[in-house]
């Protein structure tokens, strides 16, 4: 952005040089930051319009009237400097970086504003902060970068979309993810894959192409997006060419990624010792004989570390080349990128090829046109890493499988050890293990997703007279996705059908056409007015084709296109929806001291019923720049900037309204071979947008010549027209047992602090620290009448969360347990009445009162469960430290989250007393003798209750507080290359990404979301793949 403004200032000043009775003064302008010359600095004789610009070498020559007093050097990004002339002919100046960057331009909705004029709550993250991170999409690198923005990577599987929450959870039934707008056009978000591989829609944008990301948080900033603004808006601006010589850059890295904090599970000897003890404790286990360690044909004992067959060290490489520049009327940015990444799970990879052309052309004095065209091809491949309860889920297989089973048959034939769909039992007393052989299904199954995407905007700007601009922008987001799923008939999920091939071709397409009229004027010297009016149309369609085949004719065929006996019914999807919106913004300020802004939007949406199609949204904000008041000027040396802001607005959320939500629908199927119509949607004609009121108070200040800059915001966001899928009595037989209705309220409130401190700004040494901290309090204040709670289910099987009035959304719900009774070794459960109940799996009377041994009624989650902790972090943020010393640079990024709970469901599995393998702590600490104090009960074969598999127990609910070294990098830059090479700079660096986590959480990582992007079931860690650490070595070359 700096460079674009440089271009404008060039244009502005070129025409205004004046020649008079003069003396020649010349000199060089350099930067205090790096000592390098600064081109484009305006040098003006004080009190005149006489001036010049520095050239590319930072030099200027100026003819100065003889009695001139001083020269004023100014340039965006630097503090303006006044140099007395005092008869000198040569004046060299070192400009200090303007830390506050008051003139910096910030991208806002439908335009740009100068940073000093922003009245809303907007966080800006520079593209260069994230472009070198070894991630698949930019959102993965936003963790800890902006106050109020909480980002959770669900697990370490490549290209899994992170969960993004801007200022808390803003919906219950709809999405709480922000709207993403790329160069003015709202794009598709979420996981585009239809198979087990992940394809984050945002991964189609090469992070290296991003100039800046603006996160709009309060209603003042977002209300102009109306019905899509409730969960915040992220504006992505891609890079454009800048004036000067053609600039060529190359960025590349190679890296290695590995899982960390894998579970420490029992080896074969420990396993058989422990399980045989458990078997002895349960004579009715149904197992006819003891477990043993089998030996293969070569006499080797089977002792399998299954995680070795599931995880790997993945190799990654990434390359990006850009060419950019600008001439008088044309600027261009051209880039190509290639990334090829292997994951830490075997057979998991992601590959992207992309190209972008951003071009701006001035046609004449009034008209300019621009185009952004980006094409990308992404290819994702992954095994079934399925969290929760899939018997094919790789992460689960890595620790659930018994170590005395092996991947290959004992006879040395090299055949897989399989028994039908499941792993073979190798003679063990368990007839059928049920779980799959990961080696076999990794080798034989295939899940891939490939997409092609054209993301393009064409725009024309017409400025018939100064101050008035008309802009028309046509944006296109055309995605084509091909999902290929192949499951072998040899074993695993499709054993029964003797193989399955399922292909889907999916085309989510969207066009957006925006027309805006913008008028900016300074009415008197000090009264600045801006007005914007616009109309926007958006048409979205999604059409998909599915083909399915089963019963493969020969194991040779591994593609849908091969030869199969049974062709299944090809289903697919079809939807269309349309938005028609009118919007406007009016802002004015007096002397850049008192600001006022009001925005509004009227949205019409095809998915709502006649009469409810349109909704009105809007916001208003005020700002007072106190530091501009005369009474504050005396304090300027200490407090260099001080502002107060307030905003209020009403915005909507449409993500829960599908294209036909208001209708009662029948879908068609077959009954045997004849067509049928079935009632399948109870729509709601009364349905309207979800709406929320957002209130924001802000205080910004800068201290010590802007060396310390801080923003403090308090927000209160009341979501009061939630669309709830109101649970209906199942006996009413309404499809999905829910009816959507506008009911219920919830609020989010919190403080946000952002502090940036320029600790040291020397010519050689620079050290900057940025810290952000956010608090969040979320509370559901009302659900639908008659609805006291909403149950959240993990993996369709386990009730893990409940949302109740008076508590934060998605509370973890479990039965309270109080460790293990030392006398009997039984788990102590606490029933609803507060009585301690013991569980003995092998006994006829399983549940007994701890007090007197009498029979007690069975503990159930429905009856005895209670709120066991909120999974929402109440305090979170990030700390960035950036240090440069000469040619060395280093940066350390930390993120942290506190005040929340995680349901460690994996621990329930790791302690389960069926044949499942257990963690070593179970081997070491399980109760064995009377009086032993431990938290792991007496092992009883087949006991799935005592450790929390049958229902969630508080033993497995843990605090999640963590501090994470998100990235650490160190680099060295080489400069001063011979001119003939054309090389300006080469930087080499090493980086650790997701390096360490400091936590007392006993699972793999408290940053986890088994249920992905979810409102009702956050904070669940149930058989999720772990996170990965990535080491990279990279090089950046600038020509």
């Amino acid at each position: 952005m700096k460079r674009i403004l440089m271009l404008f200032s060039l244009l502005l000043f070129t025409g205004s040089l004046v020649i008079a009775q003069t003396v020649q003064i010349s000199g060089t302008v350099t930067s205090s930051e790096d000592g390098l010359p600064v081109p484009g600095v305006s040098v003006i004789v004080k009190g005149t319009t006489i001036g010049a610009l520095t050239g590319v070498d930072g030099k200027y020559i100026l003819a100065v009237p003889q009695n001139s007093q001083a020269l004023v050097f100014s340039f965006i990004g630097f503090r303006t400097f006044e140099a007395p002339i005092q008869g000198k002919n040569s004046i060299d100046v070192t400009l200090e970086t303007d830390l506050f960057k008051v003139d910096e331009v910030v991208v806002v909705a439908y335009g740009t504003q100068q940073k000093r004029d922003i009245t809303g709550a907007i966080s800006t993250v520079s593209g260069k902060d994230i472009s070198l991170m070894p991630v698949q999409s930019f959102d993965q690198a936003l963790q800890g970068k902006a106050a109020g923005v909480n980002i959770t990577m669900p697990n370490g599987v490549l290209n899994n979309p992170p969960v993004i929450r801007v200022r808390g959870f803003n919906s219950i039934s709809s999405s709480s993810s922000p709207l993403i707008v790329v160069d003015g056009v709202p794009i598709f978000t979420g996981n585009l894959s239809g198979t087990n591989s992940f394809l984050n829609s945002l991964s189609d944008i090469n992070p290296a192409d991003i100039e800046s990301m603006e996160i709009l948080k309060d209603a003042s900033a977002t209300a102009i997006y109306g019905s899509r603004a409730a969960s915040g808006v992220i504006l992505i601006t891609t890079k454009r060419g800048a004036a000067g010589n053609t600039k060529v850059t190359y960025d590349g890295y190679a890296g290695w990624t590995q899982p960390y904090n894998l579970f420490d599970v029992m080896n074969a000897d420990q396993y058989i010792e422990h399980k045989n003890l458990a078997r002895a404790n349960n004579p009715a286990s149904g197992l006819g004989f003891d477990f043993f360690v089998p030996t293969d044909a070569n006499g080797n004992r089977i002792d399998t570390k299954w995680s070795d067959y599931v995880y790997q060290t993945g190799f990654q490489q990434n390359h990006a080349i850009s060419i950019s520049g600008a001439t008088k009327n044309t600027s261009y940015y051209l880039s190509v990128g290639y990334t090829d990444q292997e994951g830490m799970v075997q057979k998991n990879s992601y590959n992207r090829k992309n190209a972008r052309l951003n071009i701006d052309q001035k046609v004449n004095k009034y008209i300019s046109i621009s185009a952004n065209i980006s094409y990308s091809n992404g290819y994702s491949k992954a095994p079934n890493t399925g969290a929760s309860f899939a018997t094919a889920g790789a992460a689960r297989l890595a620790f659930v499988l018994a170590p005395n089973l092996g991947p290959y048959a004992l006879d040395g034939s090299g055949k897989y050890n399989i028994n039908g769909s499941a792993i073979g039992n190798m003679g063990q007393p368990v007839a059928n293990y049920g779980y799959y052989n990961p080696v076999a299904i990794f080798d034989l199954n295939k899940f891939t997703t490939e997409n092609d995407r054209l993301l393009a905007t064409l725009s024309a700007t017409i400025e018939p007279f100064k101050g008035l601009t008309f802009k028309t922008v046509y944006g296109l987001d055309n995605v084509s996705i091909e999902d290929n799923l192949f499951q072998t008939g040899v074993t695993g999920d499709s054993y029964a059908s003797n193989g399955l091939a399922w292909n889907q071709f999916n085309r989510p397409n969207r066009w957006t056409w925006t027309n805006t009229l913008n008028y900016n004027v300074t009415l008197s010297e000090k009264f600045n007015l801006g007005a914007l009016a616009g109309i926007e149309e958006q048409f979205t369609s999604g059409k998909s084709w599915i083909g399915q085949k089963t019963n493969v004719n020969d194991v040779f065929f591994t593609e849908y296109h091969g030869s199969w006996t049974t062709a299944g019914m090809g289903t697919g999807g079809f939807y269309e929806n349309y938005f028609l919106s009118y919007f406007g913004r009016l802002n004015f300020n007096f002397d850049r001291k008192y600001y006022f802004e009001v925005t509004g939007r009227r949205d019409g949406f095809s998915g709502l019923s006649e009469g409810n199609k349109f909704g009105n949204f809007g916001g208003a904000s005020v700002m007072w720049n106190i530091s501009k008041e005369s009474f504050a000027e005396s304090l300027n040396s200490i407090v260099s900037d001080l502002r107060l802001k307030a905003s209020y607005g009403r915005v909507g959320n449409m993500s829960g309204i599908n294209s036909y939500a208001s209708l009662f629908l029948y879908n068609s199927g077959v009954y045997g071979a004849v067509p049928s119509w079935n009632f399948n949607q109870a729509g709601n004609p009364e349905l309207q947008w979800e709406a929320s009121s957002k209130f924001d108070l802000g205080l910004s200040f800068a201290l010590l010549k802007d060396r310390i800059q801080a923003d403090i915001n308090w927000y209160y966001n009341n979501v009061d027209d939630l669309i709830l899928n109101v649970p209906q009595s199942p006996s009413k037989g309404i499809p999905n047992n829910t009816v959507p209705a506008n009911m219920g309220t919830m609020y989010n409130t919190g403080f946000e602090f952002t502090v940036t401190s320029y600790n040291i700004t020397g010519p050689k040494l620079n050290w900057t620290t940025s810290l952000n901290l956010s608090t969040l309090k979320n509370e559901v204040t009302e659900l639908a009448p008659g609805v006291t709670e909403i149950i959240g289910t993990t993996g369709g099987l386990e009730q893990t969360n409940r949302t109740l009035v008076g508590l934060p959304i998605g509370n973890i719900w479990a039965v309270e347990t109080r460790g293990v009774d030392p006398a009997t070794g039984r788990r102590i459960f606490v029933n609803a009445a507060g009585q301690e109940i013991l569980y003995s799996h092998e006994a006829a009377n399983k549940w007994t009162n701890r007090s007197d041994g009498s029979t007690a009624s069975a503990i159930t989650l429905a009856k005895d469960g209670k709120a066991s902790g909120s999974p929402l972090p109440t305090l979170f943020g990030g700390i960035d430290n950036n240090l440069t010393y000469g040619n060395f640079d280093a940066s350390l990024n930390l993120t942290y989250s506190m005040g929340f709970y995680v349901y460690n469901g994996s621990k329930a599995g790791l302690r389960d007393q069926r044949w499942w393998n257990n963690s070593v702590e179970v081997y070491e600490n399980a109760w064995k003798t009377a009086g032993q104090v431990t938290n792991i009960p007496k092992p009883v074969m087949n006991d799935n209750v005592s450790n929390g598999s049958a229902f969630a127990i508080s033993e497995n609910v843990e605090k999640g507080n963590f501090l994470k070294v998100r990235s650490f990098s160190a680099g060295y830059s080489f400069r001063n290359f011979p001119e003939i090479t054309g090389i300006e700079r080469i930087r080499v660096y090493g980086q650790l990404f997701n390096a360490f986590v400091f936590t007392k959480y006993t699972g793999s990582d408290p940053e986890v979301s088994t249920n992905g992007d979810t409102n009702l079931t956050p904070g669940i860690d149930r058989n999720s793949a772990p996170q990965a650490i990535t080491y990279t070595l990279g090089i950046n070359v600038t020509f």
Binding site: A284, S421, A496, N498, F539, G568, S659, L663, Y671, N678
Partner: protein, 489 residues
């Protein structure tokens, strides 16, 4: 000149902006049908009738799992897998109100009930408005559609009652039965509805079946339609089952008499001519539409019961989650002699190194498209035999009816009157025959409950006495939490 240029430019732009259309704000779905158009053509109305059948054919209900739930509660089956998803908790009697099958079956059946209620409401409204006549639906057809819907509702309530309520014979139906949903529900209203008693629920079932019978066709015109859609005789056949559960012997007899000739070979004297298939194995072979199949759920390779739903998934030796036969004394396996065609049909497989036997009625494991039988003529004959014995004592007709079913598969096993010491011995023989004949068809658990006997144990699983909480399933938690008038079992 310059101003003109500017003004015309702005005008042009204004036009451009105004060009967007509001028509697109009423986009209609292309893959689903809006309610106002559901009765627009006769084909669509027939499609809705088929939709009602398709709804009860859900793999979680009459398409598969319903029979499994009933079978595995009793003593004949041992699971290969302990997977809770394939009903292990039903097998070992540990289901609770949140168990999947307990919640799922309830939901599927009531979804069918509501689909039926919606259809009946729409059908009557369109009949009254004259629209049906306009689209070419005759009065006879209107009656038939209505009869099919009513009969299916009766079947739904009867099926649900067997797992979620105490048997009628416990206390003549005084126990809590089901909430009787008879209104079309499509809004958020009416969540709360109290349970009717078991007797009241039976009254509703009979009211539906009795109302349906005269409305239905005598013959649906083809073997396939006679097996897959209801007609007069199939409703009468189903009524023998309902009355049997109520110990209303007179009515079992009068319903059976409509469709069973007085003497062997037994066949229906009018309407669709039910009779036993010559061979036992033939019932289970394509095209599954023998005259013995009173009412079955059809499948095709493109219309399957779904993952872990098909009967083959639960009975085929290749399935890792199937159930093999318990060989303990008193089980069907133990009672069947080797020569019996029903034993001959068993499939074998190896489990933990032992040879085990599996029900062989659904052998197409790879494509699980074998039909699922809701009721067979063999059951009508045995229902009849039992009712005669109960009301008239041991008669030749009763013995003949039992023999008809028994000797088809085991010709050497013919009974005579002299085979039985008393009526009770005869009734035991009928019970045993039912256990052997209907293995895998979900009949035995219903028989145990209707006679209010202890559910026998198996392996390490103890027997479940009538006093046990586990004797019937609990009411799903989701119903308790949303329907404030609902009570637990």
């Amino acid at each position: 000149m310059k101003n003109t240029y500017k003004i015309s430019l702005i005008l042009f732009l204004t036009l451009l902006v105004g060009a967007c259309s509001k028509d697109d704000l009423t986009l209609a779905p292309q893959t689903a049908l809006g309610e106002p158009n559901a009765f627009d053509t006769k084909e669509r109305i027939v499609g809705q009738v088929n939709g009602l059948y398709a709804s009860v054919k859900n793999g979680g209900f009459l398409g598969g799992r319903y029979y499994v739930y009933n079978d595995i509660r009793e003593e004949n089956f041992i699971p290969k897998s302990t997977n809770l998803v394939t009903n292990y908790a039903t097998w070992n009697h540990t289901v609770i109100g949140s168990t999947n099958e307990v919640q799922n079956l309830w939901g599927f059946v009531y979804a069918s009930v509501n689909a039926i209620n919606l259809f009946l409401t729409g059908l009557d409204a369109n009949y009254a408005s004259g629209k049906l006549a306009t689209v070419g639906v005759s009065d006879a057809e209107y009656n038939q559609y209505k009869g099919e819907a009513l009969a299916l509702r009766g079947i739904c309530y009867f099926s649900l009652l067997q797992l979620y309520a105490q048997p009628y014979n416990k206390d003549n139906g005084a126990s809590p039965g089901l909430p009787l949903r008879l209104l079309a529900e499509k809004t958020a209203a009416n969540n709360d509805l109290a349970r009717s008693s078991v007797a009241e629920t039976y009254a509703q079932i009979l009211s539906d079946l009795n109302a349906a019978e005269p409305l239905l066709a005598t013959n649906n015109g083809s073997a396939l339609l006679n097996v897959t859609r209801l007609h007069k005789n199939s409703v009468a056949a189903y009524k023998t089952r309902v009355y049997l559960h109520m110990s209303n012997w007179a009515s079992v007899k009068s319903e059976a008499a409509k469709i069973v000739s007085a003497t062997a070979p037994f066949t229906a004297p009018s309407g669709v001519a039910f009779r036993l298939n010559t061979t036992f194995a033939g019932i289970w072979a394509t095209p599954y539409t023998s005259t013995e199949s009173v009412f079955s759920m059809p499948f095709t390779s493109t219309n399957l019961p779904g993952t872990q739903n098909g009967l083959a998934h639960y009975h085929h030796p290749s399935s890792s989650e199937s159930y093999f036969l318990n060989k303990e004394p008193g089980t069907a396996y133990a009672m069947l002699v080797a020569a019996d065609a029903r034993k001959v049909l068993f499939q074998t497989g190896t489990v933990s190194g032992n040879t085990e036997y599996f029900v062989g009625k659904w052998q197409n494991y790879t494509v699980q498209a074998d039909y699922a039988p809701v009721i067979r003529y063999a059951e009508v004959l045995l229902n009849y035999a039992e009712a005669i014995a109960k009301s008239d004592g041991l008669t030749q007709q009763a013995v003949d009816l039992l023999n008809a079913v028994r000797t088809r598969s085991f010709p050497a096993g013919t009974y005579t009157l002299a085979s039985f010491a008393d009526v009770s011995a005869f009734l035991t023989a009928v019970m045993n025959e039912r256990s052997m004949e209907f293995l895998g068809e979900g009949i035995r658990n219903m028989d145990i409950l209707r006679t209010y006997q202890t559910i026998p144990g198996k392996q390490s699983i103890p027997a479940v006495p009538t006093t046990s909480k586990s004797y019937i399933w609990p009411i799903p938690d989701s119903e308790i939490s949303t329907n404030k008038l609902m009570t637990v079992n």
